[in-house]
Symmetry: D2
């Protein structure tokens, strides 16, 4: 059964829960999930509310304007999602296959409710996987000189394939501010427990520092490299017996699990970004 | 600032969030925490809702009957709590001091908002700690023959000290069904990852089984030994190098942390029991 | 560079480390890994010792009898392994693909140093994966009536393919004592934190019990169902929001990681079984 | 029964295990724990070896020179420890009591085999705890102007009390290079998952960054602030519901557990520092 989900953030004030719940109840909706959080440090009320469309009196195309009439006087920003509008993902990779395969498996196993029509890579190693899963593969190599031009091609592909979300599944290139200005729904997996070891070669640096735990971080991409809002992190123990290769091997399991959790949370509209933070209504 | 908290469970139906939120909003209340869950397997709607009493129009003594008028037609059961009514705890122990000390320290550090006027033990070893913290200590030894009579004394003490919650902080005796029939707000810490190793000597049995992880479980006490609703669990890795003494030592850290987390959640009215399960609105 | 590894257990006594180390040193071997453990509760000394074959004076075929001459008076049992003798695995499955895919992917990524020439299943669903990875697939359905006869076929295949280790990667059948009497190098993944929820439908029972953490367990298979020596376990948090389907989904990630860790440890000869326990020299 | 423990590091070469084990065996020693690691990246062999002194033929005062004769040609550095020589600790604090109390409890519970004759603080808040545990308390306030002079007093106290190890149990002052030049056996607990949030106010910065996991780190103190060799780390999950106060509260549990684990490992001579790393033979 299809559902509608509202993600709302607005300045904290009395009656917010009542007003939003009444909007749904008055129109015959049955709420199946509602979660609120008030961030007192910034005076923001945040909520995720999901209800069944079956029996809801408002036609779909009217829900957004109708809710807008309530949201405007509250100073609220919001987004509305329908569970049967399946998002379309592009997965971007370089040479490593573990995150890509993991996402594709999970999509086939219906853990991720999404279509994946497009894989983009700056290398050619993973073309065979795309072929095996019958997904279009576009090889777009990047050099300093060609970056602007190649990003234009990437943006054109996102438009052509009608992509809602880009997943950087170990894509070893930085997106330019220009690119992000035109397309900003991007999730990245960083192979460290951010903010530790932001930047390049985190496992080598973790080894050099002698840490006893390593991690991985999934975050939205912003113009500040490795500084975007964090969606999910996880860690695993290491010891003096683990050399850099062991860290990389252990980290790969972290990367694919953390990335897939973050993508799933995003696809279920459970992540609300505010400032440089996320509320995750899991 | 004092708050009121409602914990509500009722058969799932349309308009529940709206009705409860309206009750608070209509009376001038500002909701600072609201969390819902619908357990579809049993058709139950569960919610915790907390609002500021400051500015709320209903006098305290009227809130419960007023909400009752809403709850009755919904078939809801509920409990109402005021944050400035500080619960009174009795801690029951045998000989081990780690959970007791931890709870007392957290209460002093204001992590646990509670009064602790009473310690009961079937042994005398921990009397000095009670004295140091200026808490009344009652030594009530238990034998098979004296159990009924001694439990009567325990119940009298709970009444005399006006106790809201008993914490079995490594109290190595089983409470009788009779006792629990008269007082059933009891949290126990079991030194295993239940349901593994229910019953006696869990660390010895965990060692014999050769497990690679041990755990601890905080749960409400029911007449079925070690079968009550679980509030919190946690685990720690062990290896072949750990003998039974190491398991006991590592387990003590788990026990005190798991127990104190469970007590804190209970004191903040974040635990809603339904059937033999808990919803923990953390 | 090839190495030799000895796994030794013997009654504790003076001079064991010296005698074993001398045997290797006297013959020109360079030890690259040595780890010992004395289990005082049973008076057993356990060790894993690995050295480079390059420069070692004894021909390979002489190492075992030569070490045997030292081991016999010590009452030691031992096994000898050469790193360049790559073990041959058979993976047994039913219908679920996640553990199978994970093992195959890790073998391709060289995380598992093994050959995988054979997949056996009591169903046909996973034949396509075998084909894709170019591995022989044998469909051997099992009913109560045909079990003895079909196990004979399975044993014949293990012999034909010269299999060293069977991995039950969510194979939903119990191996008979007869089978295990003839082939006992078998690792199973159980989808619970053993000994909790041994037997069937562990996720359903975990849900019913209301646990806050679920787990998975990799163990050697013995004639006592779910009672064999544990190699590895891991856990993940769940909450009241997770229904049985969520537990199954979260559990799948645990299962594949725990199983693959256990298989890797076994393949590196890091697991020493004694009694119903394991020492894992990781 | 008393034991001797050797911690040895030396350039990797053939016969090291044999030579060290023979030294002990030839003198009648029974090894109860031996663990080795070869760090190939720096070509170092590291070992911890512990044996019973009962029945060992060499008098205690001869063991070090006797082993020195073996160590010298190998280019080895080593330290020798006797289990019945109980180390003497000084605990340094500022105002927070949780780590101090935890260490004192564990020492009383015999989890930490050490004497604790001295507590030093730059404030007076914790004097009562020292008194309660009958430990000398010295109040040594520090200002920029008085730092050198006050550190001289601190060093004099360490000498007077014959202190082997200083534990900075939330001591909110930096030790000068001068101080560390004269006394360098110092363990610190840092309230973050280093190298993330090195320096001041890590919980505030973790909150601002929106991390989903926080940590604590126990490390040896060196002249580079928060850069010394890490002994132990651990982490705990946080969510958008946790404000800075919650992070601080959750972090306190991490801090005391991570610090006490590190101190225990050090006291059992299980930590071998090399370069800026540790091998922890746990």
């Amino acid at each position: 059964m299809p559902t509608a989900t509202l993600l709302v953030s607005c300045p904290d004030q009395q009656g917010l829960v009542a007003k939003i719940a009444n909007f749904i109840y008055a129109n015959g909706g049955n709420i199946i999930h509602a979660d609120q959080h008030t961030d007192l440090s910034v005076g923001l009320f945040l909520t995720r509310i999901e209800w069944e469309l079956d029996g809801f009196n408002l036609p779909r195309e009217v829900i957004e304007p109708a809710f807008g009439a309530i949201a405007k006087p509250l100073g609220a920003t919001y987004s509305l999602h329908f569970s049967d509008q399946v998002p379309r993902l592009a997965i971007w990779v370089t040479k490593q296959d573990h995150c890509l395969l993991d996402l594709l498996w999970r999509q086939q196993a219906k853990e991720l409710k999404a279509e994946i029509p497009l894989i983009i890579s700056n290398h050619q190693e993973l073309a065979a996987i795309a072929q095996q899963f019958k997904i279009d593969f576009h090889h777009i190599p990047i050099t300093k000189a060609t970056k602007a031009e190649q990003e234009a091609k990437q943006l054109a592909l996102l438009q052509e394939y009608n992509i809602d979300l880009v997943i950087l599944a170990k894509y070893m290139q930085v997106l330019s501010p220009d690119f992000l200005g035109q397309f900003n729904q991007v999730i990245n997996i960083h192979h460290s427990f951010l903010p530790a070891f932001a930047g390049a070669k985190p496992y080598h640096r973790a080894y050099d520092r002698g840490v006893k735990i390593i991690g991985a971080t999934a975050h939205y991409v912003t113009q500040d490299l490795d500084e975007g809002p964090i969606i999910e992190q996880d860690v695993v123990r290491v010891s003096h017996r683990d050399d850099v290769k062991d860290l990389i091997r252990k980290g790969k399991d972290l990367e694919r699990i953390v990335l897939s959790r973050a993508v799933r949370l995003h696809l279920q509209n459970r992540v609300l970004v505010y400032g440089n933070r996320t509320a995750v209504f899991a």
